[in-house]
Point group: C2
């Protein structure tokens, strides 16, 4: 393919709007352009990479018996009303009315559509299990689109759904998907971890996120330094064993703490360790207000509170509610003398805080030497805090470290959430009606492209893995006006295209421009046709290592073959 | 691929909502399902056919140097306001607001987005020409979605756009596209014609529609019985040579014609030939009302009237306006004594009507023996009627016949319509700013699938051309519980899959059900493994011809190879 015919609008300067490397390079190397906030055009080079990612996804999913279909983006509101998500999804769901004033959603995901399809067509256990997937443009009206393709409002997803007659069958497909996802992200040359994640309102632990390790990741992963344990920090169980300090209980005392509100301020003001302080929060779980205590150096984990209480929703109580319940503002709250009708929950660590410091439920006053049982009640202890670096790994092996991750995939046992709400039932072997079990499995395709760019680049540009590069070879004649160079380049182009995909830079540009563009675009191998063209000698440069070889034209194809094989391994 | 794992929900009965063959069969054979009016899910078999059509399109477009990209469906209203289409497109354009109340269109086509992209990136003649295409889901809120995928509200299109520095370059790409389209539809085994079409408001004749001949087509094509001339009837020039009948002019006479309004009624009432009657219409061209006369047996062609007048718009005058201008209602109108300030246009044929019959501009009265010049004025003669079967072909070769056609493709020289409105300009060789010339080129991908089904079926089901079939071979063991049959089928499945794509019906269904489903699904070759399995003999049935052969298992692969090659030729 001749570069003069291909649309690759490279940029010299780093665009001001791009904060992260992948976004900068995809813009600069002419892969993408923004049309509106969070809405992009994939230019020809990016489209070629997308095709390659999609081909890998298709291969791995077909290998585990998942079948491709294509559902519509326009989804009737009625289906979303059946599942209840029409009301719960919020402004992220893009909605529109057709010419007859009927409501539609623009699909961010397709649980409703596929459940409706399958409930209409499948009535017997004989037709189960079924596993179906699609690769499709999705819509989600993100409040803050950012990082280019990483968090867009229109993006490409692979979403798969499976339907089962029993739990064993769902387990099997879930495992197959785990394996397929591992293959897919490995073939995309991503450094990733499969992490345990929160399964939301459904409960259970059977959901995993595939996280690409990256500083720009929006999620924090807790992983073990000595095993393959990895989890979203919301999920990671704290197994720290606490001990009581060898210290006698002192008398409770109320002291003025004017203007001191945060743990840091109080600890500083009282010259105490933050571990001595109690962080007191008021949360609203469904309709119940509860007080939650964690140690001053810990953070409360709302998901864990929700799970402990078995509630559907959890949120911080608003300041007015807090004032009216506790008689003081946040920063001066504490369990001592808290209203009796409010339950007090505490993290395990709180039990071991001797002579603690807490708010007195009176603005600008704190208690010191507060001790559980003696000075305040705790109705329920539990694991209610986020894990921290240095905590023991929950699997008993090693110590927890943190990393940032980009979520590129998600596998999820839905159970009967949708099949129950939408009555997707079948007759089992005994002729009894049962609700189907479901799984869903997503991959952010455009996000995967971004994650690859984020992990594969250097200060000169992108460095594509062989599997995903838009072309294998960048053939660059230094001077197209030199008859010998252009003749050799043309003949090499024709020859190499039999075996590789080749981009030939046939533009009349200065060598510096051509080389800079070539590095930016990031194809695995560059073949430079320069002064030694007359001798039939060209220069081969490996983009990843920067290694340069002089190669006779007769040996070129084999050399490239070997380099690509080595890079791909 | 085992059929038990594939989702192919076949139906015994013809669904009530499906009027046409392709729609019925795509539903019955388990290829598609409707989600909302004009909105469909493509089930796995259809998705496989789409992949094949798309691959053919990609191959042919890449061969002429067009490059694939992918633009967003969400299009900011600002771009559509720049082109003016935000206001002119009407309710077919699906519109929505994002969470910040900004207006967006859901792309039915992408002229605005691509013009905006190119104007920002291309500033010099050196970067032109450019040809870019995408294959994408489009949205158009059709008033009356119908015929399944044929006229849907969400559908798959290939749309291409080209940008040029001069007319010659646009002409060349237009011709390349014509050739590519001809190859694409030929490879899809469609019986089609490229017809001249109206280019709408832009003028000029450089637009052609690719029409698949079919009774269910929504367009009428006029074609020559002795040449390759074909045109949309709106476009076909009438070159009929008229002669005056050998008849003396008689005196004009006004006669009562109570209740007689249509040409048929008048001709019958007066025992006259419809050719003697004048059809008189009042049209509104931009802001001017005009009278248009055609012969009673002819139909007025509004596009031709518009072109003759050089107006932007044309429409029938409303009844109130007619009454107030002419003093009578439609059915009693005529040129004799028409108001002087209104121009009278007439089709050439009118000049040759001697002693004609026309309305008297007084309800329930007509004139007989009306003659042009003597009794009424004509300000402008022209070709103002639709061509009819039996007229001479405009290319001078043969006679015109009519056929119905499904529009599957459209190539179009846009000229500067969008580049001017949106300021897509470049500097030419002399450093002068010029506006780019553009072309656009569409293919209805999902519509092509339907058109293929419409042309390739029989009373038992679909009959896929080899190029597009979801699988090459349908392997059908008659009885899966028969150990010899299932063993032979399994081994043939493994062997044939090395060379062909194979669907194996491993279901425990009755033979009648399996054969009926197989015919419905319509794969080119069926291999039946039945009673002679023990002898290593199977039956090969060619779906298209119904021909049946007994084949030894050793010869099976070669036999299938030969059949497929023959069918594909």
């Amino acid at each position: 393919m001749k570069q003069s015919k291909l649309f690759i609008p490279t940029l010299r300067d780093v665009p001001a709007e791009a904060e992260v490397k992948s976004h900068q390079l995809l813009l600069r190397a002419g892969y993408i352009r923004q049309i509106a906030s969070g809405v992009y055009t994939y230019l020809p080079l990016a489209k070629k990479v997308l095709h390659k990612i999609e081909a890998i996804i298709r291969e791995e999913l077909e290998a585990i018996g998942s079948m491709e279909l294509l559902m519509p983006s326009l989804q009737p509101a009625e289906l979303w009303q059946e599942s209840g998500r029409w009301y719960s999804y919020g402004p992220d769901l893009m909605r529109l009315k057709d010419r007859h004033e009927r409501d539609f959603a623009l699909g961010p995901t397709h649980e409703e559509v596929i459940t409706s399809l399958i409930r209409n067509e499948v009535k017997s256990y004989k037709r189960l299990p079924l596993s179906l997937y699609q690769i499709q443009t999705k819509f989600r009206d993100e409040k803050r689109p950012r990082f280019g393709l990483l968090r867009g409002r229109e993006f490409i997803m692979k979403d798969a759904y499976s339907f089962h007659a029993n739990k064993e069958s769902l387990d099997e497909t879930y495992k197959d998907m785990y394996r397929a996802y591992t293959n897919i992200f490995s073939r995309c040359k991503l450094d990733f971890r499969a992490v345990l994640a929160d399964s939301g309102a459904i409960g259970g632990k059977d959901t995993q996120e595939f996280m690409v390790l990256s500083e720009i990741g929006e999620d924090t992963i807790a992983y073990s330094d000595s095993s393959d344990y990895a989890a979203n920090i919301e999920m990671a169980e704290v197994k720290t064993v606490y001990t009581k300090p060898d210290e006698a209980e002192k008398p409770l005392e109320k002291i003025p703490t004017p203007g001191q509100r945060t743990i840091a301020q109080i600890a500083d003001f009282l010259k105490a360790d933050p571990e001595k302080c109690l962080k007191t929060l008021v949360l609203k779980a469904d309709d119940e207000y509860v007080i939650v205590l964690v140690r001053g150096d810990h953070d409360v984990n709302e998901v864990k509170v929700k799970h402990l209480l078995g509630s559907e929703t959890i949120e911080m109580a608003d300041p007015e509610a807090i004032k009216s319940i506790m008689g003081a503002d946040p920063g001066s709250l504490g369990p001592v003398g808290a209203p009796e009708q409010i339950r007090i929950l505490a993290d395990h660590a709180v039990r071991y805080v001797v002579n603690g410091i807490c708010g007195a439920n009176e603005n600008d006053f704190h208690y010191v030497n507060a001790n559980p049982e003696r000075d305040y009640r705790v109705d329920l202890y539990g694991d209610l805090r986020n894990i921290q670096e240095g905590d023991p790994s929950p699997d008993g092996k090693g110590t927890i470290r943190f990393a940032r991750g980009i979520e590129v995939g998600h596998i999820f046992k839905l159970g009967t959430k949708y099949s129950e709400a939408m009555h997707a039932a079948f007759l089992d072997e005994n002729g009894r009606e049962q609700v189907m079990l479901m799984g869903c499995y997503g991959i952010g395709v455009s996000r995967t492209l971004t994650a690859v760019c984020e992990q594969h680049n250097d200060d000169k540009g992108l460095v594509w893995p062989v599997n995903l590069a838009p072309f294998d070879v960048h053939l660059v004649p230094v001077n197209m006006k030199d008859a010998q160079q252009s003749a050799l380049a043309e003949s090499l182009h024709a020859e190499l295209e039999k075996q590789f995909t080749v981009l030939m830079d046939d533009r009349n540009e200065r060598p510096g421009v051509k080389f800079a563009d070539s590095d930016l675009i990031g194809l695995p191998v560059r073949v430079t046709v320069g002064k030694k063209a007359a001798e039939g000698i060209v220069e081969v440069k490996i983009r990843k290592t920067g290694e340069v070889l002089e190669v006779k034209k007769e040996d070129l194809a084999e050399t490239i073959s070997n380099i690509l094989a080595q890079l791909a391994s």
